[in-house]
């Protein structure tokens, strides 16, 4: 796979070319002044100076609500998927890597989720490497990094006047070939410079000790510390909803008379209702059990079942928790 490069000034043209074949989402300022992935439009100029978006891009492959089927008078039909490809430009490497975790859940294994698969198959991810990690980032400790291309189809690395474009998958290679006329070859010096920038960014990410977290958590299951670390949790769900790897969902039927639809929506294991049985019994009755499950799922069960951590170190849960909880502190306190 050959690396390519494009002057930053030509980026708009490149994205416009992608837009000929389908939807394109790129980082732009929203009304509040934050940067978010928005549909490419002249009214929303692309922004390249940002840390990360508030919402993770998982909504593109696992929407907050997704109609699975519609039914009327006893007949059911599945709604068609939106036509055309979607290109996501500017996804951070942590979020791109998170897609691999979602793939493990929805694509690999015994059950293949066609609703997820349909959206995943038509989504091309162009990741943008980070040059300025935040103090809440810890991607390097969980197997990723500011210049990690895993999960992306193309990894773009910002240089002074150029973007280096490194294809990561055959789809990424094909995408770049389709716009070959807009791109230049990147020489080995450009690649070297990109690696140096990435390395400099890696140095800025504060490490978190998570080696052997799975067996340690196994040993700590009955630790009295879970009670103490979870007392501040409000069960608000912000962490799960913003987390790029959290994927728990609920399925409900919305019925009006003789027709209706079956909808999948995001759910959160921190909600008391999440494990409430019809009998009234709740195996996770207090924040202690729910927090323990959250940590266990991401740092132990995922490792035991899928051989990967279900945390990519994006830090959203730390930045946005209204109770100021910090996953890293909890991991340290329970001895993970």
């Amino acid at each position: 796979m050959t690396e390519k490069r494009i002057p930053v000034t030509d980026l708009d043209g490149l994205l416009a070319r992608f837009q000929e074949k389908g939807a394109v989402y790129a980082p732009a300022n929203d009304e509040a002044g934050d940067v978010a992935l928005a549909p490419l439009a002249r009214s929303a100029p692309v922004v390249l100076e940002y840390r990360n978006f508030r919402l993770s891009p998982k909504a593109f492959v696992l929407p907050q609500n997704q109609t699975l089927l519609c039914f009327k008078d006893g007949r059911a039909e599945e709604p068609g998927l939106p036509a055309g490809q979607t290109v996501l430009f500017g996804v951070r490497p942590c979020d791109a890597r998170a897609m691999l975790a979602l793939d493990k859940v929805f694509l690999d294994g015994d059950l293949h989720d066609p609703y997820y698969a349909g959206l995943r198959a038509r989504t091309t991810v162009i990741a943008l490497a980070c040059t300025r990690p935040m103090s809440s980032c810890f991607c390097t400790s969980v197997g990723g990094g500011p210049g990690d291309g895993a999960g992306a189809d193309v990894l773009a690395v910002p240089m002074d006047a150029d973007l280096l474009l490194m294809p990561q998958t055959p789809r990424g290679e094909a995408l770049l070939s389709s716009v070959a006329d807009l791109l230049h070859d990147a020489g080995p010096s450009a690649v070297k410079e990109a690696q140096e920038r990435i390395h400099a960014a890696e140095e800025q990410v504060a490490p978190v000790k998570v080696e052997d977290c799975a067996p340690r958590l196994r040993a700590a299951y009955n630790s009295p510390l879970w009670e103490a670390v979870s007392r501040r949790c409000l069960g608000c769900g912000t962490c799960s909803f913003l987390c790029p790897t959290c994927h728990c969902f609920d399925i409900t039927d919305e019925v009006r008379g003789r027709h209706g639809r079956r909808v999948r929506t995001w759910d959160c294991c921190a909600y008391p209702l999440f494990t409430l049985h019809a009998s009234g019994h709740n195996p996770r009755p207090t924040p202690k059990e729910r927090w323990r499950q959250r940590i266990m799922h991401k740092f132990r069960y995922a490792v035991e079942n899928f051989d990967r951590l279900f945390c990519v170190g994006c830090g959203r849960c730390i930045r946005h928790c209204p109770a100021g909880m910090d996953l890293r502190t909890v991991l340290k306190e329970v001895g993970a």
Partner: protein
């Protein structure tokens, strides 16, 4: 030494004293969080841990939200037999104290098991406002200076001063009760409440727009909602074990982001807050999408005040307005044929 620092010192002494003398089982306050502009609730049980307590302009959480849970017997019947309600000291700002009053009125917490450590609050910093003011720079540390402004140290090592008025939470800019009315002790000297009409400006502004613009603005606001329920969970007055909006038999609203469902979620929740919400801003703070969750309830509270002369959380023995009625209540909204 800043005013906050003095309060913090006295707070720690108080906690050490209460816990040492076993006057309380638990001292609920704030401690430093891992990121700047934030604190996190701390549940102190030992006098030696009193030094964890902090008081600064980032003590945002409404600690009253944690109280109902502390006074509920454990679900396990065997544990419940040996459980008795704890005595809890809780740090309360003006708005938090009013929430505690409302919880006492609704029998969710017992007054005789609470020690209210009141703090005369000068307003709390809105984390998002502060971070936005720093633009592309990330703060690595932040504190209060002697003038009451916020001083942040950013990544390149420089110090940036943020004027307090520019980073205070919206709820604080409209606050009429900065000093806890109900308390067992008071730390700090009472500050000035905001002018009485500060809270009326935004609703008056909103209402002055034509009907369809208001609907458009409302739609735009709720279109950001991802139905995470953070606003509800953070609210001290939302303590129902089974929320109406989660009920499945019958199901009132869908769980997704259909605008109609989102609108009804916020309308019903706001309505349940009428005359109960103390406008602490916990909902706004918790919302990950930055929605002004107080839009509806601000208006409702003002109306309750105007129509029935009631402000939530001022007196424990007051009757909540929607649990009361009078023969001559206003009814000009009635339809006459």
């Amino acid at each position: 030494m800043t005013a906050s620092h003095e309060i913090e010192t006295r707070l720690r002494e108080t906690a050490e004293g209460f816990l040492g003398a076993k006057k309380v089982d638990l001292f609920l306050g704030y401690e430093k969080a891992s990121l700047p502009f934030r604190t996190t609730p701390v549940f102190v049980t030992a006098p030696e841990e009193a030094t964890r307590l902090a008081w600064n302009p980032f003590c945002a959480a409404n600690l009253a939200a944690y109280l109902p849970r502390l006074f509920k017997a454990p679900a396990d019947a065997r544990e419940a037999k040996t459980w008795s309600p704890p005595t809890v000291a809780v740090v309360v700002k003006g708005c938090d104290a009013r929430s505690v009053v409302a919880l006492i009125q609704e029998h969710q917490v017992p007054r005789d098991r609470l020690v209210l450590v009141g703090i005369a609050c000068r307003g709390i910093v809105d984390t998002r406002k502060a971070e936005r003011m720093l633009g592309e720079q990330e703060a690595l540390g932040a504190g209060e200076d002697v003038n009451g402004n916020i001083r942040a140290v950013v990544e390149d090592g420089t110090e940036v001063t943020l004027r307090r008025e520019q980073v205070l939470a919206d709820a604080c800019l409209e606050c009429r009760s900065p000093t806890p009315a109900i308390r067992d002790l008071l730390l700090g000297s009472p500050g000035e409440p905001r002018e009485a009409d500060a809270a009326r400006r935004q609703p008056a502004d909103f209402e002055s727009q034509p009907l369809d613009s208001r609907w458009a603005r409302f739609q735009q606001m709720i279109s950001k909602c991802i139905r995470c329920n953070a606003c509800r969970q953070a609210c001290p007055m939302c303590y129902c074990r089974d929320c109406l909006l989660d009920q499945t038999r019958p199901r009132w609203i869908g769980a997704g982001t259909d605008l109609s469902d989102v609108a009804i979620y916020h309308l019903v929740r706001a309505f349940h807050m009428a005359g109960r919400c103390t406008e602490c801003g916990a909902c706004v703070r918790a919302c990950p999408m930055g929605i002004d969750v107080r839009l509806l309830v601000r208006r409702l509270n003002l109306e309750v005040e105007d129509l029935y002369g009631y402000r939530p959380g001022e007196a424990i023995d007051a009757t909540p307005p929607l649990s009361a009625f009078a023969m001559d209540d206003p009814q000009e909204f009635l339809t006459e044929p």
